[in-house]
């Protein structure tokens, strides 16, 4: 019953202003580059609305994510300007220093609060398949409905009731 449910909202959630489309676009570019770099998602377009819903959810729970996303867009723009698109994302995804905690630099913030979370999301949206499985923690492959094909790889031997 709704009256008993504690709202999964931050007290500031209602005061949040929507992100500019450019920020969403910039974040989608980052998400898309994950699939390109690891070769595990050839077309990220079908995931676009799911990514935006994910971002909205993060901001709803933790309003500071609005700042993370805006700043990350700006930091990535500067990095790409300096290094070029491919080198910039390679640096973002692989540099060991910016993955160290605590977060002390703007790039560490992009890597740990945005890029790494997008990696987890991307895997759960199907990016895992290139690594050889049919199911993955967080993947919604379909309901387990008796009589229909299970949404995961099964053993040859099953118990059949007499």
């Amino acid at each position: 019953m709704v009256m008993y449910e504690k709202q999964a909202l931050h007290p500031l959630s209602d005061t949040l202003v929507s992100l500019d489309p450019e920020v969403y676009g910039s974040m989608f570019n980052l998400f898309e580059q994950i699939g390109i770099f690891w070769g595990n998602m050839t077309d990220a377009t079908p995931c676009k609305s799911l990514l935006y819903t994910f971002m909205d959810g993060r901001m709803r729970l933790y309003p500071i994510y609005r700042v993370y996303y805006i700043q990350s867009g700006k930091i990535l723009d500067a990095l790409i300007k300096e290094m070029g698109n491919e080198k910039a994302y390679r640096f973002l995804f692989t540099d060991k220093k910016i993955n160290q905690k605590p977060i002390e630099t703007p790039l560490a913030l992009v890597r740990q609060k945005v890029s790494n979370e997008f990696i987890s999301l991307q895997l759960s949206l199907g990016g895992f398949k290139k690594f050889g499985a049919d199911n993955y923690l967080g993947y919604i492959g379909g309901a387990y409905i008796p009589g229909e094909k299970p949404p995961y790889r099964i053993a040859k031997e099953q118990i059949h009731e007499k």
């Binding site: 690891w38 819903t53 540099d95 993955y136 387990y144 790889r153």
Partner: protein
């Protein structure tokens, strides 16, 4: 809020949900009040689910106990026994109780479990037997929506499971082959994850997302979902749930009859009283005895049902042991795909093993968030390195859950000088492992070693054992007489006319399997018993 009810239930977990559902089925106008000390956690929320997905954070940890205090950390509760029995992480003090994070395993006890003393000389027999409960086991499986197969369970049953079992995963295949070679009978793990049951839940069945600690769909049975739906859809005019209501004591009007309960209303910030014809304590194994203990009066100077100092005693747990082995080469690229197991064996959950303590084994690949894949990508490993790591080897994890026997010295009681974040007294846990405990685990290890050997896996000689309070039970145990236990075969506290304990606390013993289905069966049975009493 009224101040008079037919039945007041303290606690809002599966016992309260199944009991009230049955009472209301028998009489939709039944007057029932559920008092819950905690509050509600938002369920079926995509943002919370994704928070778990990317960071491993759960929304209800703030309603769990903290670890015991140490010299350098404050902590909660007190460990008073020779061995430390952690409470933290084992229960959730919130609307829906611990079903908000349980795993859904839904085993029946076996007939011999009800005859523990007769068969082994350990503990006591239950005052009821398997046949008394068989019908209610079936009803409980319908109520929580269990998927399973009777093959390998070896529990007599008049009806089949409501839903067919989750098929064994590909990761089960090598373990199945080893079991077959060793002639170990295996079975599906019966699971309450179907959602749509024939009672009060409209949820979709499991989507195997593997994020079972917080199911985004409500497929896994969770008492708060069912209670919400009962309030929302079923038009029960006299059914009420009050959160933030910490019951202080049960008030007696004579030596044998309770008149009601006194509780602290955390919202109104004041003490309140309600009267009831029947009072059911359904606060779990730790809080149920503590409430009886602190309900002291001139009629019950040691607390209700505690004339023989048995309330809170015979605390029992099930040790959980994790064995791992590594199989060289993983050509099928097997990975953890779900957060619950599909394969188990009850081969050692048998009369033959009962004297030493039965045990079950389950193949349960570790399902942790963040996953290995995400961690490797986040570390910047290349796609080639990740594929190589997955193909090189595969870790098999076999978990054992075993039976030990309850002892008088093991107990819980109120730590009256301290109150936790929920408003409940903290707990003193006095626990000492029984003699032979470690030796028995070594014997179990020898059985598991044979399984790994058949698989060609290299077993890690070190195994981990958890003796956490997850399946704690027996602290108000059901017995034939007040000399042996706290409640009778109808769960009524000895010496009272209208106080009941409906909880794992009322188990006489607990075998080697998870207790929740048995508790649901006992709760439905109590519902029928109380309905008859009301009519009578």
């Amino acid at each position: 809020m009224k101040n008079k009810y037919d039945i007041v239930i303290i606690g809002s977990g599966i016992a309260a949900a199944a009991l009230s559902q049955r009472l209301l089925k028998n009489n939709p106008k039944a007057s029932i009040l559920i008092l819950e000390a905690g509050q509600s956690v938002k369920m079926q929320d995509s943002a919370i689910w994704q928070d778990l997905l990317v960071s491993g954070k759960l929304p209800y940890t703030k309603y769990q106990d903290l670890p015991y205090p140490t010299r350098n950390t404050p902590g909660q509760n007190r460990s008073a026994g020779r061995d430390v029995l952690p409470v933290d992480g084992s229960r959730v003090m919130t609307f829906g109780g611990t079903t908000i994070h349980w795993a859904g395993w839904s085993f029946r006890l076996k007939p011999e479990d009800f005859k523990l003393y007769t068969n082994t000389g350990h503990g006591i027999d239950w005052p009821i037997d398997y046949d008394d409960l068989e019908h209610y086991y079936g009803e409980a499986e319908e109520y929580i929506g269990v998927s399973g197969s009777p093959v390998g369970q070896n529990t007599p049953r008049k009806k089949g499971y409501p839903f067919p079992p989750f098929p064994f995963t590909l990761e089960d295949e090598p373990v199945i082959q080893a079991f077959r070679k060793l002639k170990i009978e295996y079975s599906n793990v019966p699971m309450a994850r179907h959602g749509s049951t024939q009672t009060d839940s409209p949820h979709a069945p499991c989507k195997t997302t593997g994020t079972c600690d917080y199911c985004p769909f409500g497929a896994r049975y969770s008492a708060n979902n069912f209670l919400n739906e009962m309030m929302e859809w079923n038009r029960y005019p006299n059914f009420e749930v009050r959160l933030n209501s910490v019951v202080q004591e049960i008030m007696m009007k004579s030596k044998t009859e309770a008149k009601g309960v006194k509780f602290f209303d955390k919202v109104e910030n004041k003490m309140r009283e309600v009267s009831a014809k029947h009072i059911v304590v359904a606060g779990g194994t730790i809080e149920s005895p503590k409430l009886l203990q602190r309900s002291k009066s001139k009629f019950a100077p040691n607390g209700i049902g505690n004339d023989n100092d048995l309330v809170g005693r015979y605390l029992l747990i099930q040790p959980w042991t994790t064995f791992t082995g590594v199989v060289k080469a993983n050509p099928k690229k097997m990975q953890t795909v779900m957060a619950f197991p599909t394969l188990c064996t009850r081969h050692f959950d048998s009369k033959k093993e009962q004297d030493k303590g039965k045990f079950i084994l389950a193949n349960w690949p570790p399902a942790t968030l963040p996953t290995t894949l995400s961690t490797m990508m986040q570390n910047g490993d290349s796609s080639r390195d990740i594929k190589k790591a997955i193909s090189e080897n595969y870790t098999v994890t076999i978990n054992g859950q075993s039976e030990i026997f309850s002892e008088h010295r093991n107990r819980v009681y109120n730590l009256e000088s301290k109150v936790n974040q929920i408003g409940l007294y903290e707990t003193v846990v006095d626990f000492t492992k029984p003699a032979g405990f470690d030796h028995r685990l070594e014997e179990i290890k020898e059985h598991v070693q044979k399984v790994f050997l058949e698989m060609g896996a290299k077993m890690d000689p070190h195994f981990s054992t958890s003796i956490r309070a997850d399946h704690a039970s027996c602290t108000c145990r059901m017995a034939k007489s007040p000399k042996e236990g706290v409640v009778d075969k109808d769960l009524k506290v000895f010496g009272t006319e209208n106080v009941y304990v409906c909880s794992n606390a009322a188990f006489s013993s607990m075998g080697a399997v998870n207790p929740t289905l048995t508790l649901a069966a006992l709760s439905i049975r109590l519902g029928d018993h109380l309905s008859k009493s009301q009519k009578g």
